[in-house]
């Protein structure tokens, strides 16, 4: 299988501590996809994302990114194609917010004169520009999360992986995150890059919307914010498609062992789930 403009998992198995947590999963993420990856605890969502951003190595199968096998690319090459917001990582050193975001800009070949602008744009997009000179380690959980998101945006990659991006975010920033993702999915330069009108695109080539995949716990968020949901259960994908078509009470009961009440949101027509608590 070879697809030139997509992130492809081909029968990928990923072991953690000797046990295959993800088993022979195949998935294709195309530009413009906003994929919500949902499933119960331990189903392999984070493990799959970790293998995509190379924190874990698959034991079999292949990950292809824009037609090249990921394991044949250098880490530097893959980091210019794919950025990630990892879960629960703090770092040890007392960098400022701007310095942390600059690490993202540096992962992508950027002329020094543009770095500052890239960093400023990325910080503005996640609302951390006012924290620029604050110590990263001194931030609250939500502020740290937005900083790491800005760092991923500053990588200006055609693929973006977000592991529980709404963790620690208060209501306002959850809503803003959804808005940001919508905007990203409809723009034609890589995330965090300049406005589409700016013809000096740093990547030069990216004239397509990014492919985004994010692990989520909130099914309602997944149903509203994503144009595609992938449901995982015990290391395998059990459903894949638009939320309206794929997310229903039967599937959710089968996977989570909880039967929800399903309604439809009046504003965007997305399914909305009410849980029996």
């Amino acid at each position: 299988m070879k697809v030139n403009d997509a992130l492809v998992l081909d029968e990928v198995s990923i072991p953690v501590a000797g046990r295959d947590v993800v088993r022979e999963v195949s998935l294709t993420i195309s530009p413009g996809d906003v994929v919500g990856l949902v499933g119960p605890n331990g189903c392999g969502k984070s493990t799959m994302l970790k293998a995509l951003y190379r924190a874990l190595r698959p034991s079999s199968g292949a990950v292809l990114i824009d037609g090249s096998r990921m394991d044949r690319l250098s880490f530097r090459e893959s980091a210019s194609l794919l950025a990630a917001l990892p879960q629960e990582e703090r770092g040890d050193l007392d960098f400022t917010v701007a310095e942390v975001v600059a690490l993202g800009a540096a992962a992508h070949p950027t002329p020094a004169c543009r770095t500052e602008q890239v960093v400023a744009t990325a910080m503005a997009r996640t609302g951390v520009q006012c924290l620029a000179d604050r110590s990263f380690l001194g931030l609250s959980g939500g502020e740290r999360q937005r900083t790491l998101l800005a760092r991923a945006l500053a990588q200006r990659t055609p693929y973006l992986l977000l592991d529980e991006p709404t963790n620690h975010l208060d209501l306002r920033y959850q809503v803003e995150l959804v808005g940001l993702l919508r905007k990203l999915a409809h723009q034609t330069t890589a995330p965090g890059g300049p406005n589409p009108s700016d013809d000096e695109s740093p990547t030069g080539t990216s004239t397509r919307p990014p492919g985004i995949i994010m692990a989520l716990h909130d099914l309602n968020l997944a149903a509203s914010a994503c144009n595609r949901v992938v449901v995982m259960d015990r290391g395998r994908i059990v459903a894949d498609g638009p939320p309206t078509a794929r997310l229903d009470a039967d599937l959710i009961e089968k996977v989570y062992a909880v039967r929800p009440l399903v309604t439809t949101r009046p504003d965007n027509g997305a399914p909305h789930f009410l849980f029996p608590w």
């Binding site: 980091a79 794919l82 050193l93 960098f95 310095e99």
Partner: protein, 353 residues
């Protein structure tokens, strides 16, 4: 505030580096001219100049010239080299295991070296190496220890920092016990003192012959760390972040391991296990300059070199005619300075304030 301007302003840092460089030269001159028989600075400079240019000196000055050129100069330069090297290696070790308590000896290198050294002192092994027997045995002991630590802390996922630290600490205990046993069963009885003196570090035996190797290794370590400094910044964010930002954490950690082993084993074999410098100078540098690794890889070795030259100088003067072991002196000066600094600044490492 100097803190923030040093952290953000490149010119301030360059100025600081130049200032430290000049101060290092001055410190070296002082260390060469002061001693049991002090030689005025002017004459010291003249001797050094004639040593470099091969100029002639009068026959009445030969004794002083020999003291300057053959004894004090290599010793002072070696102090600077060892101080610089251990400071740089401290940065490498702390970045490798992402732990603020790490120092170049974390990998069991010092205790492995001490086993080699005590074997030479007690059993007289490697006597064919003559005066270099102790150095050679220490080097080999350090290498064996670190290979063991590496082999035992390795797993399918590479070398995990915490397991590396634990293995290093545990094996250090083992090697220390072995060293103690060798010394304990020593027939002569004065082995303990010799080994202990060696373990606390001394530059008394420094000679021109050892300098090229130690100097080259130290420069190599500094150059490599300078080159990889942006990647060290990335590694400090965590392994997952590091992978997603384009730096393979396992590969970088393996390189840092190799670098630390070769660098530390070399320096230990010439100067013994001088503790404290490799732990404290990296922190001191970060307190002054902030966390970025690139400026630290230039300035920490300069701080370390200046520090070690003064430590060696003071150790010769503290209790004449004997020399205080360097490990004692580094702690005497370093502990109060360091405690004051970490208390004064809002210094953070490992998320702990």
């Amino acid at each position: 505030m100097t803190h923030s301007s040093l952290r953000t302003n490149h010119r301030c840092r360059v100025l600081l580096a130049c200032g430290l460089g000049a101060f290092l030269v001055l410190s070296l001159l002082l260390a060469i001219s002061w001693g049991a028989a002090s030689i005025p600075l002017g004459r010291t400079a003249t001797y050094l100049w004639s040593a470099v240019t091969g100029g002639a000196i009068s026959s009445s000055d030969v004794t002083e010239y020999t003291v300057v050129a053959e004894i004090r100069t290599p010793r002072a330069v070696m102090a600077a080299v060892v101080g610089a090297g251990l400071s740089a290696l401290g940065i490498a070790a702390q970045a490798m295991v992402r732990n603020p308590l790490a120092d170049p000896f974390i990998l069991g290198i010092s205790s492995g070296a001490s086993v080699g050294a005590s074997a030479v002192v007690s059993w007289g092994i490697l006597s064919s190496f003559g005066v270099y027997a102790l150095s050679a045995a220490a080097f080999v002991g350090a290498l064996i220890a670190s290979v063991l630590v590496y082999a035992l802390s390795r797993s399918s996922g590479g070398i995990a920092p915490v397991r590396l630290i634990l293995t290093g600490v545990v094996l250090s205990f083992g090697f220390q016990a072995l060293m103690s046993a060798i010394v304990f069963f020593d027939a002569k009885g004065d082995a303990a003192r010799t080994v202990m003196f060696w373990m606390l570090g001394s530059l008394g035996g420094a000679s021109w012959a050892q300098l090229p190797l130690a100097g080259a290794v130290t420069l190599g370590v500094i150059a490599y760390l300078w080159y990889r400094a942006p990647d060290l910044d990335v590694l400090s964010m965590g392994d997952g972040s590091s992978a997603s930002l384009g730096v393979d954490p396992e590969a970088l950690r393996r390189r840092l391991f190799l670098l630390t082993v070769i660098g530390t084993a070399t320096l230990v074999s010439v100067a013994g296990t001088i503790g404290f410098v490799g732990l404290v100078i990296p922190h001191l540098t970060r307190i002054v300059l902030g966390p970025a690794h690139r400026p630290a890889t230039v300035l920490a070795p300069l701080f370390g070199a200046v520090f070690m030259v003064w430590v060696d100088l003071l150790s010769r003067f503290a209790v004449p005619p004997r020399e205080l072991p360097l490990g004692v002196m580094t702690a005497l000066i370093g502990v109060p300075v360091f405690v004051l600094l970490i208390r004064r600044r809002g210094y953070v490492f490992g998320g702990a304030r």
